[in-house]
Symmetry: C3
Subunit: 399 residues, 3 copies
């Protein structure tokens, strides 16, 4: 995108009907299609500004809180990069990984860390039934803080992965698809296979596959969700996605054959996750710190997983896809057979061929996060970005 194209994209953004200011980004399916499109547009514009050496710095000072209840090097970097791009300083909030704060503590902490804060990114995906709930509790506390005149403005909460959705991942994935296929409008009619894949580990969260089916079902695509019997996702998310798929002129199928899902697919997203049922059983064990119980559950799960080692994205499986050339996607890191493990989600030769694609896929995440922050904070993002372009501060003095 050159500067003329940036201006055109800003005009396009101005035409979107959105109501995002003062709100948070928890689940893609709470946002309208125009709001999703605005998010993609802002991400593209910010990236293009940076690439044209126009600083997308919106703030001269300001705090962005990073609250990672699980470890994550990559999401941490994406979030830091996004915040820094906009001019925010990232301050980590480390509440202790095992404790889940509730009630008074959440309310108080949310206010205490927000006096000069513009954005709060939260990753909390390990406890089924709790991550999303916690994020909303923080948001409610912030609303109360603003209402009471304690906070000068409402920090926007960005879901950096919850038990339900992983919108910064799925939105980055789809911005990648938009670039790969020449526009989001090119996705209608395309088939995406979101399938389970074997991994020697267990307990991977459900939010990635849920995020993908929850978002893919907005674009008139054929979404083929497939997993071994018993590896269900949260039923409500699948049902909602089915309805969304139909409403968008697409289709959601749920099956138990990787081959059927791959057959004729334009895009494949093979990825391990733990069954919904197991994730439910884990929560009380984690809360109780019941190491023996967790060990036992892990053992049973790994034994069960081992029955499905053939759920691997091999060359043979890839041949089933559209002209054998489906786009392979992964949120990374992938479990690569003979590279990171003896048997995993994907064959080394397949991963090798698509490595750069998966890296490109990841490269959109900082811009998606930055877009979510901009849209959560400013009433008129088009005017804001126009101002920033006109101001024209160089991101770097050198070339």
């Amino acid at each position: 995108m050159n500067r003329k194209e940036i201006a055109a994209a800003i005009d396009q953004l101005a035409g979107k009907k959105i109501d995002m200011q003062g709100k948070d980004f928890f689940l893609t399916w709470e946002k309208t299609r125009d709001e999703l499109d605005a998010t993609f547009l802002v991400a593209d514009i910010l990236r293009a500004m940076r690439e044209n050496n126009v600083s997308p710095r919106i703030w001269d000072s300001g705090i962005a809180v990073s609250n990672f209840r699980d470890n994550s090097t990559r999401t941490r970097f994406s979030y830091s990069s996004a915040c820094n791009l906009l001019g925010l300083y990232v301050q980590d909030l480390d509440e202790g990984k095992s404790q889940i704060a509730h009630g008074e503590t959440v309310r108080e902490t949310a206010n205490m860390i927000s006096f000069l804060t513009e954005a709060i990114g939260i990753r909390d995906d390990m406890y089924l039934g709790e991550g999303d709930k916690y994020q909303r509790e923080v948001a409610k506390s912030l609303d109360e803080g603003v209402a009471a005149g304690v906070l000068p403005s409402r920090p926007t909460v960005v879901n950096l992965q919850s038990d339900i959705d992983h919108p910064t991942q799925s939105m980055a994935d789809f911005l990648h698809l938009a670039h790969h296929f020449g526009g989001l409008d090119k996705l209608a009619g395309k088939k995406i296979a979101m399938t389970w894949a074997y991994s020697p580990s267990y307990g991977k969260p459900l939010s990635v596959p849920q995020g993908i089916v929850g978002l893919a079902s907005r674009f008139g695509m054929e979404v083929a969700l497939a997993y071994p019997e018993g590896y269900d996702l949260i039923p409500e998310v699948v049902e909602l996605s089915r309805q969304q798929a139909e409403a968008s002129g697409g289709l959601l199928t749920v099956g138990h054959s990787m081959d059927s899902a791959f057959a004729g697919a334009d895009i494949v997203y093979p990825k391990s996750w733990a069954p919904f049922d197991v994730m439910k059983q884990r929560v009380p064990l984690l809360h109780a710190g019941d190491q023996a119980g967790l060990k036992d559950l892990e053992k049973r799960c790994l034994a069960n997983n081992a029955k499905y080692k053939d759920w691997e994205c091999t060359e043979e499986k890839m041949k089933l896809t559209k002209e054998g050339k489906a786009l392979y996607m992964h949120c990374l890191p992938a479990d690569i057979t003979d590279v990171s493990c003896a048997a995993g989600e994907v064959a080394a030769s397949v991963f090798d061929r698509y490595r750069d694609d998966t890296y490109l896929e990841a490269s959109f995440k900082p811009y998606i996060i930055a877009a979510m922050i901009v849209l959560g904070k400013f009433k008129n993002p088009a005017e804001l970005l126009k101002n920033a372009v006109q101001k024209g501060t160089s991101r770097t003095l050198g070339l």
Copy 2:
């Protein structure tokens, strides 16, 4: 405050006789009344600038060191927010929590971390007789570094809580009072009850109550300090506060009845602390890492504390205060009966009524810290702020 009022406040600041540049902020009672007033003024001006979207960024680059020898999420955020507001990047110095560096190590480290450093915030409150001493040792090393031509300028040291005083807390508390009552000059004649309160924990530092009596005694107030027999503060601090109270036209009383302290009070500050005597006993045990000794001391203290469960800020106690409507204050987090513990410092209904007030109270801390840094670094803070206002950089490009 609008822009006109900001200009007026800057003029007022210009009229204060201060000698703070190149110095540190350790104890409020080392500062003149004009210097305290200047600190309040700068804090108000910085806050108003930000609220009027005028960036209070004074530095384009620069380091602020954060040295927390005790954990503290909130003070950490206050310090980061303050430094970021002024344009400084916070770099944590983690020397290890149990070791106390001395002599050569302090001298060397103080210089090594200060080549491009503008401010050093230190929190060191657990060891009676050591926190303040350590901060002064750092300051002395910095003086030597400047004298030797090793450091280009003198970083200012801000006491983020020592064994003696907690000036960022007490100053924020009193800026809150100034806003609440319509000016610091309105405090003369008012009664503030700084009282001990029961908590199921033990070992809370003395610096909060000491900071409050040490500062409240500057404004012509009636300061009613009350605690169970044996829960003394550092005697020298109380004696000095008594003298200050008299000099300012006020009064300091020390008693052992919460009811008497609360009677007719305009402000109440009920808060747990460990007896001076216990804090003294703890130091050698902490240094020796004597877990058994610490356990034993804790046990004895908690047993003693338990005799004073009636030292709780209940609705009944609040009724004793001026028209039953004294302003409740707390540095947070408070031990709230039936919320955070079975029996604590304050009844839930009392805390509920004053929750927003305590949050507002806390909201002044980042600005107080920023003011201390500005005053410790710049000779003519009024001119500096005038320049910043005239420059008029927007804190954010959007609205």
Copy 3:
């Protein structure tokens, strides 16, 4: 340096023939003399700009990754200060101290953390044969990321200490020498004694002495390397330094007498290190986590070290140097006899006399690091700095 002198230094820089953009700074001996001189010049210019209140901020936003595989408060501060000075935000990459990532993991992580990254500082000095290798593996991954269009630009890798060289230390040391003696051209013919010294600890890396002989041998100096029998450095580094010394019109001698090395020296650098042979034996033990084996090795080493307690930089030894007034150098912290230990590298009275010199020595490191980043990133650093000076943003609004 005043502004006129800054302009002159920039002109001088423009005359240097360098090819550093898009490259990394691993070993000083991979750089031409012009490239070393350019690094010294940029460091001096950046320092002078800051001291003249001209902001050397080159970036409005951007990430600098800090990857410390060993603990280091001081290098961490130097790196942060350097990055902040240039406008970069430091994000720590903590991969876990004991694991050494390889292959796929390095490739992927290097890309994932670099989408908006300008510089990557790596310290990895504990494992002989691995630190330098790892840094080059990261660099290769970045090259591939740029070639694949995944990364918008090539982050420059700065070696913050490897198993082979410690260029930010040695370059800072020599910038200190340039200032001390009135120019790098004054070093030709001077004698520098890089000697082993006794320390009650063991396992200190070889990269400091190797870095010093590897760099000192570029300036026509007499480099006297001395250590007890068996305390060899990596043979290839010594051989290469010998050749460099000859090529530059100087001389490298290797001996086993501290007295001979000190005799007539202009500069002495007495410093403990572990024998090459021991460092080699340690690697498999460290990888295996063989605590008993490590304990045993340490015991044998300390016993061996103890034979050489007379390798101490005493007043007597200092008397052997040129007029008894050689400049004492150390990378700090030094093991000071009767201060930090019972018997160490240097006598207290010697260290006392040179303390400020060693602090000044250290003060150049942030600027050297910043210079390495600038030169690794920008094609025309002279023009860049000219622009920054012309832009003339104040580093601080106050005085």
